[in-house]
């Protein structure tokens, strides 16, 4: 059916340039320019026009064999009548049987969340209140998870995030929250919305502290950091849940973690989340689908099958700055979840890329041409060649 989309990245700049110049009698170390040097950049440029690794991360993972969902069917060839009939049956089951059941469950779950948390909110601050609040939250998230037919397997539960800590995970979809909250209670962090989301947010806050920011507050990084710090410092507060990539990635790799979350202090509890793509594609491509459309697709998939690994807690080492710490945590998560550890920034999805990357390439090339000893510059991006 389908051929996987990945391709060999090709050699490093040095390797490729070396091959280009092989016919010349001088060695690379002598430097010098060759007219064919530009071919390297030319071809890399064309390859990125035809496809590029980074943009790939923002589209859904391709499957090796079809799972009977039209949406994962990229290169459809009409194979046989039998397959089409099976597919048709699948559609009927998913849309007419599973979907209504799931929608009902989801509505029940959310309604109960609002009612339950509001009721608990009337109680005075007491251990009982906290216990009830956790109960209500857990119950609702579990109902919602059923509403998605989510099958979650938790590993290494002994490393579960503790109160006063910060839970950090890779981000694939808004459903991540439901997945994690099925097994423990977290303080959510996010922007306060209006509408239905706003109602849910406000009622949640009544029963236990979450951290909702106004849109204007989000821009002031210091304000954000200090509010989170205050939350963490109160050791009785639930662990905060943060997704440092800043945006949804397609669950085949982990992109650069924003260092802001790692400047707050406190203990970091990394969590790796890996969805099984065969049953349903959980990735939210926010450019392509809005939230409602996305949830509809979720509820008409076969199931959401997830593996969650709780990693041992990490703290910042002496002499390590926030960015290095962030990278260390990211690698741990990528390694555990079997995801590619990419140094690209998730915000590349939206913003223009930094000039620094271009400069790095120029630096590398210039050291070849000028024959300097400066062969110490690394490739602009580190990509582990391991692929699941």
């Amino acid at each position: 059916f389908l051929t996987p989309l990945y391709f060999m990245e090709g050699g490093s700049m040095e390797q490729e340039m070396g091959e280009l110049r092989r016919y010349r009698t001088q060695s690379i170390s002598r430097g010098e320019f060759s007219l064919s040097d530009s071919f390297y950049f030319y071809i890399k440029g064309l390859e990125s026009i035809v496809d590029d690794q980074v943009t790939q991360r923002f589209s859904s993972e391709e499957l090796v064999s079809w799972n009977l969902l039209t949406r994962t069917n990229h290169n459809f060839h009409y194979i046989s009548l039998r397959l089409t009939i099976i597919w048709g049956l699948g559609v009927i089951i998913r849309y007419c049987v599973l979907f209504p059941l799931r929608i009902t469950l989801a509505i029940i779950g959310l309604t109960w969340l609002v009612i339950g948390t509001t009721l608990v909110g009337f109680l005075p601050n007491h251990r009982l209140k906290n216990w009830l609040s956790e109960l209500v939250h857990l119950m609702c998230y579990r109902i919602c998870a059923r509403g998605l037919s989510a099958t979650i397997q938790y590993h290494n539960k002994e490393n579960k995030p503790q109160k006063g800590g910060i839970c950090v995970a890779n981000h694939t979809s808004p459903i991540d929250i439901v997945i994690l909250a099925n097994d423990g209670c977290y303080a959510m962090v996010g922007q306060s919305h209006g509408g239905l989301m706003g109602v849910i947010q406000r009622s949640m806050v009544r029963s236990c502290p979450h951290v909702w920011f106004e849109r204007s507050e989000m821009r002031d990084r210091n304000a954000v950091t200090s509010r989170l710090r205050a939350h963490v410092a109160a050791k009785t507060n639930l662990p905060i849940l943060i997704f440092p990539e800043g945006t949804c990635i397609n669950n085949t790799s982990v992109m650069m973690f924003k260092k802001g979350s790692f400047e707050i202090g406190g203990t970091i509890y990394p969590v790796a989340i890996k969805y099984d793509p065969r049953f349903g594609d959980a990735f939210w491509n926010s450019a392509k689908y809005n939230m409602v459309n996305y949830l509809l697709r979720m509820m008409t998939s076969w199931a959401i099958v997830v593996n969650v690994w709780y990693l041992p807690p990490m703290t910042r080492r002496e002499g390590e700055d926030a960015a290095q710490f962030a990278n260390r945590v990211k690698s741990a998560i990528a390694h555990q979840g079997g995801l590619l550890d990419m140094a690209w920034d998730g915000s590349l999805k939206r913003a223009k890329v930094k000039e620094e990357f271009k400069e790095q390439q120029q630096k590398m090339y210039s050291s070849m041409v000028m024959g300097k000893k400066g062969r110490n510059s690394q490739e602009p991006h580190t990509e582990s060649t391991r692929r699941q």
Binding site: S38, G45, I49, D51, L348, K358, Q361, Q362
Partner: protein
Amino acid sequence: MGSTNSTLSKIPNVEELVQETGFTPAHIVRLYDRFEALDKEKTGHLRPQDFGAINRLAINPIGDRIIGAFFSPGQETVDFHSFVRILAHFRPADKKRPKDPSMPEPVNSRTSKLKFAFQLYDQDKDGKISRAELLQVLRSMLEMQVTEEQLESIADRTIQEADLDTDDAISFEEFRKSLEKVNIDHKMSIRFLR
């Protein structure tokens, strides 16, 4: 229902495109999907800004020139057919194809690829790479890393080596000659468009 077939039917003159470029229908569909993905405003055409949004291209030192290769002089947009035709130049050569002198030269031949590479340097399309044009390319690739003198001496040396008729510029024939030992098919082909 079917992706490939319905996509194929959306593209006008597919047969012609397949004949001309040597891409398989599956490749063309893939390129069409890519074209649509880049064409964010769904105009059916790509403008230089749409290429500029590709991150890896934006950090390529000669990214602007590569984008320029897609737009004929005076044109501000490129349609799908032109997009595919230009990319067809970089298809790896068909090893099995017999060398038939009566057939027109395939679009992805060695000469064709070299012509493209030549045009990268020869921006004013006068058939020669002047010293100034060479300096421009060098500047893009080296920018802040070397001094102007070093750039000039590199340019001088390169022209000296390649310029056989001593007109202080590199013609296409001289360009071709100086690269005769380079495996152009390997180095100027996009690998996964096989």
